[in-house]
């Protein structure tokens, strides 16, 4: 076919006609309530304002059986808040917090989206919703100067769990500063009923100072480009979902997690310690996978996970790229209360000596068993204790004994330890569970007892007492023996 034929008026009008038919959304300028009826396959009935929630809360399931016009009002605000204990950061937010408000709509709904940019904002902002079919996901249409509000509309054609984020240049920085959230487009038939739903969004932060450096920390462009995150967190800050902020469930209940990953760079290996996902809607779509231990959540992507909680205790949410969990903050918690069920999980039944080579007593060829070093002085104790500390303690209490807020109490400048060092010794040899208050913060978790001798426990506690700003002193093996249960 020649070029001329293609461009002839008849062809043009046919092509235009096809374009108009194919166009799912309303034409520009047609935002009245009578036109959106064309938007989805089913007719739009009525109008409502979307309920928006902050993490970890999720708006209630949609009960209606028809599509409607949904008005979403979202405000962009730049605000200073805590990123970790004593660490401040200037967040750019959708709705005042990180992650942004959770938006819940139904497949076929027609959304009128209002994006307001607070007058105190320094930057223009916009929103790219991955649930939008159209150029930029709404980014062009929602580009908003400080102190202004823009409006655009879209039809929710595809069901699924979608990330939204700011897409104003420099995009990486807008996302790195906290501009992301989730929008759920519920399928027409709805999601299966569950007892609890939570909103969990992972993301990482790049700060001028390293992890834990106090004060207002500016964004580090260098680290962001190198993808060297200082913080990897759930719901916007270290401990946002742990300790007192843990979410709750009861034995026998079903739990659904809407999991998103704002990035900007890292892919999450999302895992819940002590659970198996009965169902995962992979990548937030409609494909269901069952019996999943860890699911990948891409940056700018999502997953829906469902599981039934069978036994009481704390379930720990982690990014199983595990140093992110224990060293960068990617820890969340679901506290499950209810009756023990020994048929499913017994707890520790027995702790007996294990002879790797069989039950018979063995001896080394030269007849001498290697003996553990015994400290002859306090200095010895501190030296020997240091090695033990690195072996046993650092994983949770971290290398400077600073702990992880709301999860693992600090050993550094610890009022709990200094008031009675034998409490520390007891925790080492007997374990510790339940509430303790350390430096004014309440910790409610479990420390397992360590398989160490009285001598070793005495050495490690003495080491801790003489380091990390603690008061000094010495604990002897005899004292440990007395507290051992």
């Amino acid at each position: 076919m020649s070029q001329d034929r293609l461009l002839s008026p008849q062809w043009l009008s046919i092509a235009l006609g096809l374009l108009l038919i194919g166009c799912a959304g309303p034409k520009p300028g047609e935002t009245g309530t009578d036109t959106p009826a064309k938007a989805g396959s089913s007719a739009i009935q009525g109008e409502e304002v979307a309920v928006l929630t902050d993490a970890p809360n999720v708006p209630p399931p949609i009960e209606r059986k028809h599509a409607t016009k949904v008005i979403v009002n979202l405000e962009v605000k730049e605000a200073e808040a805590e990123l970790a204990d004593g660490v401040k950061y200037t967040f750019w937010t959708f709705g005042g917090k990180v992650p942004g408000k959770f938006i819940r709509i139904r497949e076929g709904d027609f959304v009128e989206f209002h994006l307001a940019n607070h007058p105190s904002s320094k930057m223009p902002h916009n929103i790219d919703l991955h649930a939008v079919t159209g150029p930029g996901g709404g980014a062009h249409a929602s580009f908003t100067a400080p102190g202004h509000e823009t409006t655009f509309s879209f039809a929710a054609i595809n069901p699924g769990l979608y990330v939204y984020h700011c897409a104003t240049a420099p995009v990486g920085m807008h996302i790195a500063n906290g501009m992301y959230g989730l929008i759920l487009v519920e399928p027409k038939e709805g999601l299966p009923k569950v007892d609890r739903e939570f909103y969990v969004m992972q993301s990482e932060f790049y700060t001028r100072g390293d992890y834990g450096r106090r004060g207002l920390q500016p964004f580090s462009m260098e680290k962001a480009i190198q993808e060297k995150a200082d913080y990897v967190v759930f719901n916007g800050s270290v401990g946002a979902m742990a300790g007192d902020n843990a979410v709750q469930a009861k034995v026998g209940e079903t739990v659904r997690l809407f999991v998103g990953n704002g990035g900007p760079n890292l892919v999450s290996s999302f895992h819940v310690i002590g659970e198996i996902f009965d169902t995962v809607y992979s990548e937030g779509g409609t494909t269901k996978n069952h019996h999943v231990q860890t699911t990948l959540v891409p940056a700018g992507g999502s997953a829906i996970t469902e599981f039934k909680v069978e036994v009481p205790g704390s379930l720990i949410l982690v990014d199983h790229s595990i140093f992110r969990a224990f060293n960068k903050g990617a820890i969340g918690m679901i506290k499950v209360e209810g009756e023990e069920n020994k048929d499913i999980y017994s707890g520790k039944l027995n702790d007996a000596v294990y002879h790797g080579e069989g039950g018979a007593i063995q001896s080394m060829p030269d007849g001498k068993a290697p003996t553990a070093p015994v400290a002859k002085s306090k200095e010895d104790r501190i030296r020997l204790g240091q090695a033990l500390f690195k072996q046993h303690c650092v994983a949770c209490h971290l290398d400077a004994g600073q702990g992880i807020p709301n999860v693992f109490p600090p050993l550094a400048k610890s009022d709990y330890l200094n008031a009675d060092p034998l409490r520390g010794a007891s925790a080492v040899v007997n374990g510790l569970s339940g509430k303790v208050t350390v430096n004014g913060a309440v910790y409610d978790s479990v420390m397992p007892k360590l398989q160490v001798s009285d001598e070793e426990a005495a050495n490690v506690i003495t080491y801790v007492l003489n380091n990390f700003g603690n008061k000094g002193g010495e604990v002897t093996p005899e004292q440990v023996k007395k507290v051992r249960k």
Binding site: M123, D128, A145, T168, P170, M221
Partner: protein, 263 residues
């Protein structure tokens, strides 16, 4: 020349004197430009010599302007030229809190800024002029290699807007002697809409996409110039009648045409 103007300024012979600084111009590559090379990379351009006010226009300066030009007073201004929050921080048509006198005027539209400069026999600087003089750090005309300088600019962009602005002379002074180009307010430029979208101009060219997502990188001169991205993004979010809490201006003088630039 400079000394003479300063003298005028000090003796009050000119209205709050223009305080113009000579910038000799030169060749540089802007982050974005209408003028593009083979791979849609911006071409370097030559900025002709021009003069720019050493300090942003203050509330006191602006008060003199509206006193002489009643059509720009808050109660009389045509609403096609300004939004309803025009001079919102003033108490009335001709009054503001005394402490504001030497602080930059904000909540002014592009139309208003342009009228002010015209009334003074001046004009708004172009994007290229502003970006050219904005390259300068305390010690170098081209501060792009000074990471510390770049970091400071970025830090300011990262913080929320403040309402308690510093006095114009109490700000960062670059090697030309121009104060407060970074770290105080955003500033209007004459052709703020020329490098890309705004309102109806949105579907005009390929550049409108430049500031969204990854497309931005391919069309820009230096993908790591994040501060530059922010300025271009900010300008492109504006319309001529917008009045914002952190947006002011200063005037310039000279023939603004640049080599290799479409007029």
């Amino acid at each position: 020349m400079r000394a003479w103007l300063w003298l005028l300024c000090l003796t009050g012979l000119a209205w709050s004197a223009p305080g113009l600084i000579e910038v000799k111009g030169g060749r540089f590559t802007p982050l974005y430009s209408l003028e593009q090379g083979p791979n849609q990379q911006p071409r370097s351009v030559v900025v002709k010599p021009f003069q720019i006010q050493s300090k942003a226009v203050t509330n006191q300066d602006y008060l003199e302007f509206v006193t002489e030009n009643p059509q720009w007073r808050r109660s009389r201004v045509a609403t096609v030229f300004v939004e309803s929050n025009y001079l919102k921080h003033w108490q009335s048509d001709l009054a503001f809190e005394p402490g504001l006198a030497h602080r930059p005027v904000v909540f002014v539209s592009w139309f208003a800024a342009r009228a002010y400069c015209q009334a003074r026999g001046l004009r708004l600087p172009t994007i290229l002029e502003w970006e050219f003089v904005g390259l300068a750090s305390e010690r170098h005309e081209d501060g792009q290699a000074d990471r510390d300088f770049q970091k400071r600019i970025l830090d300011w962009y990262s913080r929320p807007a403040r309402l308690d602005l510093p006095e114009v002379s109490d700000t960062f002074r670059n090697v030309y002697g121009v104060y407060g180009l970074h770290g105080v307010i955003w500033e209007w430029v004459d052709d703020f809409q020329s490098v890309m979208l705004s309102g109806e101009g949105r579907e005009g060219g390929g550049l409108d996409r430049a500031l969204y997502c990854a497309a931005g990188v391919s069309g820009s001169a230096n993908p790591q110039d994040y501060a530059g991205y922010m300025r271009y993004a900010f300008r492109s979010s504006l319309q001529g009648r917008y009045c914002l809490a952190n947006l002011g201006f200063r005037c310039a003088q000279g023939d603004p045409s640049t080599k290799g630039r479409r007029r």
